[in-house]
Symmetry: C2
Subunit: 390 residues, 2 copies
């Protein structure tokens, strides 16, 4: 009658470490309870990677309780019990009457729980950047005595520095991403439909690498001529042609953690322009990586890239990447000029050097890296080349 | 230097029809301009299916202009020009300085545009259910003279009734979903890793059916023993075993439109309990479908299902489905008791009869259907059976 606990990606002590960091931040902000509703933060703090779709859920971290309490749609509770480190009493399913109900939703169940716990007049943290305006109004209206504190990104900033256990999982994800790129090099050829090439690439991302299957599919993008100036098109209905260029971005996933990679493919000999851009970007990538060490800033890394490619006559108008971890982008440290966040050991970044130079011409290159005690470890390892296929 | 227009899934007249319906609704609500930021609504109104990830974007529908104006991150503008029906002058990329900037973001560009258009003191519709609380505050602060009107779900309600052109695309998506189920029946067998089975299933969803490739991957869920009481786990690291039950939910995608389907698979002979639930659910499915016609209510459909399975001694505590279209669930009509929305021709639903009976036991069955002038057309057509595999 009851579901068993599944294998956990991390030991209980690792989750309690993370929850402890959140509680310390709550204390700094004068908050007794924090309602986490960002799904990536919930994965980070519980291990639960099941997706409840569009229904509201809230993980309540209370300074008075060791474990958080996860309040979610009743039918999603068994998955949370199975996947998370939480004791089953700390997973509370709310009733179906709150679904597609114009008057109430799952956040009412979260608010009821806060009232029951005697937290109605405490300092209450909310992730206002992840809550809809309607839901924020509901918290104000139903908890008039609480002191509401905006804690958007508070958990995300804690996520920026990974534990060694998280790094090990990201290495597994990176090996899967590499496998996806190598499979792309095998299946991209003239006459193949883009969808059929992507079918093979995505299948590889699911099968995984080194005996570790992918645990989910992350975003995949296949932007081919005449779409190489775009970056977020899944794929088109075209057939790959002789002379086509293809920019691929994909990620490997292990237990919610993503490692991302981008590479450029040329079917037949690349144009002189593409060759020149590749040469510049490759030099820029190496320059950026060589600046990575504790104490350097995000800005330093980005500037090393920009300065290098400019020597080659190439410019890039977009940022050079971002923190990465649970489910791809972390909304915190950003590799761009003027971003003075200092690098620290075990921060992880997607050094995203995709460069959409003209509306109809772009180029893709990236790596996922970790800051080490003295420099950098590049987690993705596919050859750093412009793939020429025939 | 400029990107070409790609092939469009629908003719310009179809998009203008949709925009016209939105403008009529705006007039009813006393709104001169509407900022659409729900990504599904943007796909519906433009044809753009590229995903900008987490960066803000807004589609401004103004009663004074024929076409909407799409304001999005500069690097995503070429994809919008390529994929959408919009004239290129109506796609405006905002600068990179608004990315990862703690003081400003893309919504500032949207607000600047509204000021430039002289809409600063008009009736302005916002999708407050899709905007963060922080962003809603920004609109209030920067547009103090505007009369802000909450238009959450206004476009979603318009989406509920499809055109014949949309139905044709959903039929293509349904054929892809069917192919996914049939592939599952081929690849699920003892000794196979779940990830390897899913690799094949997802590859099939990308390859498509009837010469029409999938244009994206929708959600896929593979919930196997001992997880059949869960519904939203992607897949696990387990190996499929003799005696395992597997509940699959997946969707086919064409041009952003999804048709969904669920089926249950038994490796070896199913248990007596599973057989009985299947018999009840199959009868319930047929009873529900037989009530579908214009003028019947969502409640009628759900009640026909509930009453039928209860005769078999089976209960289901969750709703029986929901409107479906662009990127799966539409947040409008819901197949549940007491939901008095009347069915109309060309409404489309996912009749979702997944039934998570115990924490450790559930069952999956669903179809995507269309309301016709006199009854029902079931779009998904995979055999309505409990798949017994060996």
């Amino acid at each position: 009658m009851t579901i068993s606990k599944g294998p956990q990606a991390f030991p209980r002590s690792e989750y309690l470490r993370r929850v402890g960091l959140v509680k310390a931040e709550m204390a700094r902000r004068g908050v007794d309870a924090l309602v986490v509703n960002n799904s990536r933060n919930i994965t980070y703090l519980t291990g639960c990677t099941a997706r409840s779709g569009i229904t509201p859920q809230g993980l309540v971290v209370s300074s008075a309780k060791e474990e958080p309490t996860f309040i979610l749609r009743g039918l999603d509770a068994p998955a949370a019990i199975h996947q998370s480190f939480l004791e089953r009493g700390n997973v509370i399913g709310y009733p179906e009457k709150l679904i597609a109900n114009p008057d109430m939703d799952g956040f009412d169940a979260v608010i009821d729980f806060l009232h029951e716990l005697g937290l109605a007049s405490c300092g209450l943290g909310l992730e206002l950047g992840d809550l809809s305006a309607q839901t924020a109004e509901k918290f104000k209206a139903r908890m008039p005595k609480a002191k509401l504190v905006d804690c958007t990104k508070a958990v995300a900033w804690i996520r920026t520095i990974k534990s060694d256990l998280e790094i090990a999982v990201m290495r597994e994800a990176a090996a899967i991403a590499d496998a996806g790129i190598m499979r792309a090099a095998e299946v991209i050829r003239p006459g193949v439909r883009e969808a059929d090439a992507m079918a093979e690439i995505m299948a590889t991302l699911a099968r995984g690498a080194n005996g570790k299957p992918g645990t989910d599919l992350a975003n995949v993008f296949f932007c081919s001529s005449p779409r190489t100036g775009t970056c977020h098109i899944r794929w088109s209905e075209d057939i790959i042609r002789e002379g086509s260029q293809i920019n691929i971005e994909l990620g490997g996933v292990r237990h919610g953690y993503v490692a991302a990679i981008m590479r450029t493919f040329s079917v037949g000999a690349p144009s002189e322009r593409l060759r020149r851009v590749h040469e510049a970007e490759l030099a820029g990538l190496e320059a950026a990586l060589s600046t990575v060490r504790p104490g350097a800033t995000c800005s330093d890394v980005a500037n090393a890239f920009y300065r290098t490619i400019e020597k080659y006559g190439v410019k890039k108008s977009t940022r050079c990447g971002y923190a990465i971890g649970v489910d791809w982008t972390e909304p915190t440290a950003s590799l761009q000029t003027g971003e003075m966040t200092e690098l620290k050991p075990n921060m992880t970044f997607h050094l995203m050097l995709g460069n959409w130079i003209d509306e109809d011409f772009g180029y893709a290159l990236s790596e996922t890296f970790r800051v080490t005690d003295s420099g950098v470890e590049v987690l993705t390892r596919a050859p750093r080349k412009l793939f020429e296929l025939s």
